[in-house]
Amino acid sequence: MNDNICPWSRVNHLIIAAVICFAATSSSPALAAPNQIFYESRPAMGTSFDVYLYAPNRERASQLFEAAFDEIERVEAALSNYRPSSELSRINASAADAPVVTDPEVFALLERAFVYSQKSNGPFDVTVGKLMKAWGFFRGAGHYPSSEELARARGQTGWQRVKLDQRTRSVFFLVRGIEIDLGGIGKGYALDCVARVLREAGVTAALISSGSSSLYAIGAPPGKAGWPVRVPDPLDRTRTLSTILLKDQSLSTSGNYEKFFQLNGQKYCHIIDPRTGRPVEGMLQTSVIAPEATDSDALSTAVFVMGPEHSARLLDSVAGTSAIFVTDKKGMGRVVQVRWPNQAKNAAQLIKTEER
């Protein structure tokens, strides 16, 4: 069990631990502070989930960790497209034959994902499953598809080719071969579910993250205004692009460095533009703050595909969102901010910061 106080050595992504550690050291018995911070990390959903939470003692923290990770397991068991026993696998296997009835929770998440497809007019599309496979990003390290492979995958992609029937809570694929992949929204959804479980258990300060992609902050460390979170500079991830404070909010980041392969000097990232069927080019990183992680997760993927020039309306459609883009301009970064709470630092490689 990775159950540590003050986990400096394990902070390898977005989370800044300075405030966490100060708070933890102040909770010595002499000060009779009610809570200490505890940390645990476990693998799930193809990444690692980290939970930092304040609890009165280790025993209570252990119970909360169990409840949190049980909830992640529950969500993964339903939404994973890597598990043949998942509800999503059942839908993918059968929905081309006949409408598949699913439970209200899974149906609601699919509806929410398809609303993003509709709002973005395609760039966010959970039917990219076959395109992800064609480009070798499902259980693989990347692969340049032949034109035939690409054409076949594109023929089996498209959110308009899925019929969701609210009355019967059913999913029907209008084209055989469609595969739903919730990779662009599922981890954020899992964070929201964990946040609900922890809140119901009485937790008032916690930070939950899924790999380097999304995190959600419940409340703030005692005496602090929020959880400090570092958004890295995508050109040198040891450097900081921006530091923000999160409180009852989520932050999701999509980057071209998460999964990619290189061929003939060209970098192909795992975020596919469903409109072209090809990996997105010209974008290094997007980060989105939103009240819920389901939204920030979907939005960071969507605006990564759309680019800063075309994302305003989508970002405006969800209250409380803000975003920061780093686009690739001939190997240099260009930063664009949309309602971003802090001015990005002018890291050496970043040539220009714009506010939209």
Partner: protein, 411 residues
């Protein structure tokens, strides 16, 4: 207490064929297909974590509607209504739920000590029942559930969902046909590294939420985890045990709990066959699995898959040591003693057919109702594992070998 008072005469005919079945594909037959749009209205008694999970699975079956929720812990109503997606009627007393007219069947997912009362009153109200395992806390509870289902002519399905997993069914078929030779041993384990204690918002809810830790309500690890393995062993061997011994203790989590945090149980079956079960809560390396050992091979069955392994053919099992033409002994080599660490042969399943055992069990129960067909995991399947759980816990508690014939009788 007179131990003989526990003796129950359950005839082989009453026990039915299910626990002895060599598993044909057991999805219920569609004798009179009913349109999936025809609603089956379920009432839920016990809307805790397990009840909520079963609701999710039942709602994935076309035509199922959750028509009532019963619990005694108020926060569960709102949580469960989120899962049903509607303002499902709520009840704080199961008798009021059973008075509702619009219920076709009841799902019982309450603590083990309440199974008997809730299942029996449900079938007496004229409803079919899906009841969580283990069947009942005591022999008397188990027996009364079997009798009540029979007397009221209602279908009962016990929550041994792995009976509906295709890979389990295939293992039973292939082992039954002799693919791994004569099976004499099964090793089953469910090892976790967690206290099993759940967060409690207020100490007054401790026993309500952590009921698994208290003997008044729970059979502990043997019932909550081991009953699946016990049912599997009963299924493979086509029998119930003859005797049981066991040990266990509260050795890691001395936090006021009453049920053991580790158990080790040995069941002996007719014909010199043995099932050994272990459950730990402080090491999860082994996870949850069952190994079926036969003379010609082994099969490992987990919650998600099954893998066959075959014993090497040994025409000459040992090499003789010869000294001046005289055989003086056999060479010793660790080669044949090392565990096999190579790949096995996984059970192959058609894509998309693996399914979730919970969903498949729920779907099969609904089909049983629509087709008026006896569930495969019926009350007799539940009785066989339920009494085994109970007697195993007694063997641990009393520190002695318990003979099943002293407590249950199969004519």
């Amino acid at each position: 207490m007179n131990r003989r008072s526990f003796v129950t005469a359950i005839s082989a005919g009453t026990l039915g064929t299910a626990i002895f079945a060599r598993a044909e594909k057991v999805f219920t037959q569609e004798k009179n297909p009913v349109a999936p749009s025809d609603q089956v209205r379920l009432g839920i008694i016990g809307a805790g974590s397990r009840g909520q999970e079963m609701i999710r699975h039942f709602l994935r079956v076309p035509g199922v509607h959750i028509a009532g929720l019963c619990d005694i812990y108020e926060p569960r109503f709102a949580a469960t209504r989120k899962i049903t997606g509607e303002e499902t009627p709520i009840y704080r007393d199961h008798r009021r739920l059973l008075e509702a007219r619009d219920l076709d069947a009841i799902v019982v997912a309450t603590p083990l000590n309440l199974h008997a009362e809730h299942v029996i009153t449900s079938v007496q109200s004229g409803r079919h029942v899906y009841g969580e395992k283990s069947l009942g806390l005591t022999l008397e509870h188990c027996n009364k559930i079997v009798e009540a289902a029979k007397q009221n002519g209602k279908h009962f399905q016990v929550g041994h969902q792995y009976r509906y997993a295709p890979w389990f069914q295939e293992v039973i078929q292939r082992v039954g046909k002799g693919e791994i030779g004569k099976v004499t041993h099964i090793y089953g384990y469910w090892h976790r590294n967690a206290s099993w204690r759940r967060p409690v918002p207020d100490p007054k809810f401790e026993r309500l939420i952590n009921w698994r830790l208290y003997k008044e309500y729970s059979g502990g690890l043997t019932a909550e985890l081991g009953s699946h393995h016990i049912d599997f062993a009963n299924w493979v061997f086509g029998a119930i045990p003859e005797s049981v011994t066991g040990s266990g203790g509260i050795d890691t989590y001395r936090d006021g709990r009453e049920t053991n945090d580790n158990v080790q149980i040995i069941f002996r079956y007719p014909g010199g066959r043995t099932f050994t079960f272990s459950s730990l809560t402080d090491n999860a390396k082994a996870g949850a699995a069952a190994w079926v050992y036969g003379k010609d091979g082994s099969v490992e069955v987990t919650m998600a898959d099954a893998i066959f392994y075959y014993e090497p053919k040994r025409s000459s099992p040992v090499s003789d040591v010869m000294e001046q033409g005289v055989r003086t002994g056999a060479t010793y080599s660790i080669k044949g003693e090392m565990p096999y660490r190579g790949p096995g042969t996984p059970v192959k399943l058609p894509e998309g057919a693996a399914g979730n055992p919970n969903f498949l069990a729920c779907k099969s129960f609904i089909e049983s109702l629509r087709n008026n067909a006896r569930p495969f995991a019926d009350e007799h399947v539940g009785w066989a594992s339920g009494v085994s759980v109970y007697l195993a816990n007694r063997a641990i508690e009393e520190g002695r070998r318990i003979m099943f014939a002293d407590h249950v009788r199969i004519k």
